[in-house]
């Protein structure tokens, strides 16, 4: 059994070998620049004395009153999380908008839970549906309204951007409060119009550079470009992490189920679903 000195020497040797067998992919200057940018960003974010502005971007502060009016009139609330999703084949920037939309969904869910307004969330991505369900559960727990959780639903409407647009158009009906947040493409105006057209109060946000006109034209409150991400970051940090934990737990159970079922099918001589699922 090696003593501590030998163990440390081995660890240092492994590290030295690893460093020795590596080379910089981008060269010294770009690597140092990227690391410096990351360090500056982290120091800006983590600085304890920093104060972030609290402007009412997207008129989100009006949502509480709109939700109270919806409760009085017996209307519901609806949220669409765009058409990019988290696990769909979209660009990283589009998918990050879906993640940024979750705190906004949390804000809507909390105001709806307090007012007793049923909330319906739609998405075209199953991973986003899991995260949205966890966000709703977290909102009811935070507002101590578990008895109202059954009235709020998350619906996975199927795969594809066209599906999002078609579902928004075919399911268009009056809502007390309606919101669209996340990445959208050319179908953005269809989703926005179907979801928000008949709403008493609405908000729409997207950071898609080609689609700022839709929220401006259709919604009462608009989060354009960086506004969507800024609003998400200003709303809350904690609930996002709790939602991530809940969603991750559900994903892990789903993955285990797929592994077991796929293995059983393979052992039984059935089709190998791994290749079909991964598209290979």
């Amino acid at each position: 059994m090696p003593n501590l000195g030998e163990l440390a020497a081995r660890l240092i040797g492994i590290l030295a070998d690893t460093v020795g067998s590596s080379s910089l992919r981008l060269g010294a200057a770009p690597t140092v620049t990227i690391l410096l940018v990351i360090l500056v960003l982290l120091s800006l974010v983590a600085r304890p004395g920093i104060r972030w502005s609290g402007r009412d971007i997207g008129r989100l502060a009006e949502m509480g009153r709109a939700m109270a009016l919806a409760a009085e009139s017996g209307a519901d609330a609806a949220v669409s999380l765009g058409s990019a999703g988290i696990s769909r084949a979209a660009s990283a920037l589009e998918r990050f908008q879906t993640i940024a939309a979750l705190p906004i969904l949390g804000h809507v869910a909390r105001t709806a839970a307090r007012a007793g307004v049923p909330l319906r969330v739609t998405t075209n991505d199953p991973v986003t549906a899991l995260a949205a369900a966890a966000t709703l559960a977290s909102a009811h727990r935070l507002t101590s309204t578990p008895e109202r959780a059954a009235a709020s639903t998350v619906a996975y409407i199927g795969e594809g951007r066209a599906v999002s647009a078609a579902a928004a158009l075919s399911g268009a009906r009056p809502h007390g409060v309606a919101a669209v947040a996340g990445g959208v493409g050319e179908e953005g105006i269809l989703i926005l119009d179907g979801q928000l057209r008949a709403a008493d109060w609405s908000v729409a946000g997207t950071a898609s550079a080609s689609q700022p006109a839709g929220p401006l034209l259709v919604a009462d409150g608009a989060l354009i470009g960086p506004g969507l991400l800024q609003a998400a970051a200003e709303i809350a940090g904690g609930e996002h992490a709790r939602s991530s934990v809940l969603a991750a737990n559900r994903l892990i159970w789903s993955a285990i189920a797929v592994l077991l079922i796929g293995s059983a099918m393979g052992l039984a001589g059935g089709p190998h679903i791994a290749e079909f699922l991964a598209g290979r």
Partner: protein, 205 residues
């Protein structure tokens, strides 16, 4: 504790992927590749779960006679047809000709038909925009009108002048606005991602 674990996992994963981007190392590459494979597996598991939930929901709708029974039947029928085409004995999965035909002959035209509605709905949105916020909508409508005029299919000297004008609009003001938006989005994406992970819990009220 849970928040700490999640943040630590996200930071370690992110650092590993950033290191793989910056440094060429076989072990690092394998670790990053394994992470990406895990992501594919998670997405596949979630997709199966989502599809099963969707099917179960519409089966319940059909059984209970609630909602649109015809719509639910069409959706369930479509799911069955695609699954049979992709999983039947001898099928090559998503690359099977039957699946490719279903996509090319049914799904693509349906999607194109939906996207073709964009123009009509944009006109409707413009009408509503003028009623709700006239100033911003007027600016957008004026810009759209200018672009339409610049793209008119005219010949001769006026056509050349319009074409050069359209090229300038695309290359200078339009490209400037796009780049400005993208730079702004990129900066806030970086800040937001870091704040999601590092900021302490706080309520929004």
């Amino acid at each position: 504790m849970r928040r700490t674990v999640v943040a630590a996992m996200a930071l370690v994963t992110g650092l590993l992927l950033i290191l793989d981007l910056l440094v060429v190392n076989p072990s690092l590459g394998q670790a990053a590749g394994a992470l990406n494979e895990l992501l594919v597996l998670l997405a596949a598991a979630a997709a199966v779960g989502g599809a099963v939930t969707l099917g179960a929901h519409h089966l319940r709708e059909v059984a209970a006679g609630a909602g649109s029974r015809a719509g639910s039947m069409v959706l369930l029928g479509g799911m069955v047809v695609v699954l049979v085409a992709g999983l039947r004995p001898g099928s090559t999965g998503s690359a099977d000709p039957a699946v490719a035909w279903l996509v090319a002959a049914l799904l693509a035209p349906i999607a194109a038909s939906i996207f073709a509605l964009t123009f009509l709905f944009l006109l409707g949105a413009l009408r509503r925009g003028f009623a709700v916020r006239g100033r911003e909508t007027s600016v957008m409508a004026a810009a759209a009108a200018i672009v339409i005029v610049l793209l008119l299919p005219l010949g001769g000297a006026p056509g050349d002048w319009l074409a050069s004008g359209a090229t300038w609009v695309r290359a200078v003001p339009l490209a400037g606005v796009f780049r400005g938006l993208l730079i702004g989005v990129g900066v806030v994406v970086a800040l937001s991602a870091a704040r999601f992970l590092l900021l302490p819990d706080r309520d929004d009220d």
